[in-house]
């Protein structure tokens, strides 16, 4: 892991020395051969679909006959007449606002908990990461049954403890929090990244703080949090963009219901673009929804990055 972070300095050292230029000709040829698969892949699977998808968003297209250009018609329909679009947007926003902060807070808390020296801490760390390793479909289906109101484990336990039970996925107001609950079972993924960040904080800082008599809270807010803030920023961006694209959980757990309560944008895109047999795919319309989602993602990344200087700490000497 240490060797990886050396990367930056090696580049600098390398560009200063001109020894490689002797074989410049063969270098170029070899480089193009080595990079060719990735370049072709980029052009075919990233570049082309990106442009094509933008064009399709401006058309009416069923996948069988040629696309018909309709300008911004799809977007007009989305924002004004489609009864399902605003609920989808709202459901997506609700999911993100519920999941991302909880995932970050729990992930960080878990990382700090697992960053302590107790016998058995590795077992806790391993088990906390375990759900991340398991196939998503396997864990989601398991939770679907866990959350069953009649025979599920959660209500069984709550009932035995004399606590009120819940409809979970089947209740209009509890469905989305339940979906988020299932997603949070994989919080070990967030934990692992925070754990790496915590371990890279120099211990001298903690020692100095202890000498100065700082309490645990001020150590956390004055040292830990500022030192790992670049990773927090990265996590905010990655988790938000991932959460905006949540598909597996609502698709398998609820199918978007009850009503439109968990019908997130991705599910709506899927259902418009790849409908069940007998219905006509609306690929142009689905593409317009894809672009709404894409623009939201770009906006989130841009805004988070823009305001990051307000709350992230950067070591000015490193640049």
């Amino acid at each position: 892991m240490n060797s990886v972070s050396l990367g930056g300095s090696t580049t600098k050292r390398r560009s200063r020395r001109g020894g490689m230029s002797r074989n410049a000709g063969s270098d170029v040829k070899a480089a193009y051969l080595f990079i060719a698969p990735a370049v072709i892949g980029f052009l075919v699977f990233v570049g082309y679909p990106l442009i094509r998808s933008f064009y399709l968003a401006l058309t009416k297209y069923n996948g069988l006959t040629d696309p018909v250009f309709v300008g911004l018609g799809n977007f007009r329909r989305l924002f004004t007449t489609d009864p399902a679009f605003w609920p989808a947007l709202r459901a997506t926003g609700y999911l993100v606002l519920l999941y991302v902060p909880l995932s970050l807070i729990l992930g960080l808390a878990l990382a700090m908990f697992c960053n302590q020296r107790f016998a058995g801490v590795r077992i806790v760390r391993t088990l906390a990461y375990l759900p991340v390793v398991l196939p998503a479909v396997a864990t989601i289906t398991l939770w679907k049954f866990m959350l069953d109101p009649q025979v599920g484990l959660l209500n069984t336990i709550l009932d035995r403890l004399g606590l009120p039970t819940s409809l979970w996925l089947q209740g209009p107001s509890t469905a989305m929090p339940s979906v988020v609950l299932v997603m949070l079972w994989g919080v070990g993924g967030t934990m692992i990244i925070f754990l790496a960040a915590l371990q890279s904080v120099p211990t001298e800082l903690y020692e100095a703080a202890r000498v100065d008599g700082a309490g645990p809270w001020s150590v956390f807010f004055r040292i830990t949090l500022p030192m790992i803030s670049p990773i927090v920023l990265l996590q905010v961006i990655l988790q938000t963009t991932a959460a905006l694209q949540t598909f597996n959980q609502p698709k398998i757990l609820t199918g978007g219901g009850p009503g439109f309560s968990t019908n997130v944008l991705m599910l709506s895109i899927y259902n418009n673009g790849f409908p069940t047999l007998g219905r006509i795919p609306q690929l142009g319309y689905a593409s317009a929804q894809v672009w709404v989602l894409f623009i939201i993602i770009i906006a989130v990344i841009a805004l988070t990055a823009k305001f990051s200087s307000l709350w992230t700490y950067s070591d000015s000497t490193s640049d």
Binding site: S5, A38, V124, V137, A138, G189, I192, P216, Y270
Partner: protein, 302 residues
């Protein structure tokens, strides 16, 4: 952090620190273990419960009130369940798709990473930024055009859309990771190999690949996980159930179909088998899992 002392340091401090402090440390340790136990329970109990469901009879699953443990153990579920779900076929499909996409993804990412890190060519920076930029591009943007493209070239309902992209640089994250590892290897090694008359292919295969073993093992594990777990792509590209991988096959078994209640005990018994390959890999190569993600964290922090 301040409360953390190693076991060996405990007696020393105990002499200096007044009794109430010692007591509070005991309380701290106890409460740590209470919380640890709770975390472990949250992670493990669902899996244990899954096994008990897998052992229950098909009707006992729906007993009200539900019983936590099965009355009689139906080991046969572990045979009949996989049979009903066509587990062997789904497993084979998943294996073929995953093996090929791991192979392709790791190989082409290593090649691209090598070129980006250690060779000079016009456009090196540009391609690096394009690959890194495409990491942030949501996968869904390409879904519809690619679906149409595959359909028009006859790849719909074949495994090709799940395999071929991997052989063409598939995952930009891997390219990034590969480049980072290659940058950290001293250049004197290539120089020496070049003086010995080795070409780039020789250097890549017999010098670089052995040196970057942790890198490509990590990538292989991440690629395995990504492909084994992928649900959306096979769901969109594969129509015939005979070609489905496990993810789609398993999910379809419990999706409400024609008002039929799914057979949960069969399902959970099979689900355990579905989880086994990634579990085995995780426990065998835990180091690489953690290392890969850790490396990602530390490189981005720089």
């Amino acid at each position: 952090m301040t409360a953390l002392q190693t076991e060996a340091a405990l007696p020393d401090t105990a002499q200096i620190v007044p009794p109430p402090k010692k007591k509070s440390r005991l309380v701290g340790t106890t409460s740590w273990y209470v919380v640890a136990l709770f975390i472990c329970a949250v992670m493990v109990v669902p899996l244990l419960w899954m096994i008990t469901i897998g052992l229950k009879s098909r009707t006992a699953v729906f007993d009200i009130p539900p019983k936590l443990l099965p009355h009689e153990f139906h080991w046969s579920n572990f045979i009949k369940g996989p049979e009903t779900i066509h587990f062997p076929r789904l497993f084979l499909n998943s294996m073929i798709i995953t093996t090929l996409s791991v192979l392709g993804g790791v190989m082409t990412a290593m090649m691209a990473g090598y070129a980006l890190a250690r060779l000079r060519f016009p456009g090196r920076k540009l391609w690096f930024y394009l690959f890194v930029g495409s990491m942030l591009l949501p996968g869904v943007v390409g879904l519809i055009p690619l679906f149409q493209m595959y359909k028009s070239i006859g790849w719909y309902d074949t495994w090709l859309p799940l395999i071929v992209p991997a052989f063409l640089g598939g995952n930009p994250l891997f390219i990034f990771l590969a480049r980072q590892y290659f940058l950290a290897i001293p250049y004197s090694i290539d120089e020496a190999a070049k003086i010995d008359g080795a070409g780039h292919l020789r250097i890549f295969v017999s010098v670089m690949l052995p040196l970057t073993r942790p890198a490509w093992l990590t990538m292989a594990i991440l690629a395995f996980q990504a492909s084994w777990n992928d649900f959306l792509n096979p769901l969109v590209y594969l129509y015939s159930s005979g070609k489905w991988p496990l993810s789609v096959g398993m999910a379809s078994f419990i999706s409400p179909f024609a008002g039929k209640t799914p057979d949960w005990s069969y399902y959970m018994a099979t689900n355990l088998l579905y989880m086994l390959p990634p579990l085995i890999i995780f426990f065998a190569a835990q180091r690489y899992f953690i290392q890969g993600l850790g490396a990602l964290g530390s490189t981005n922090q720089k």
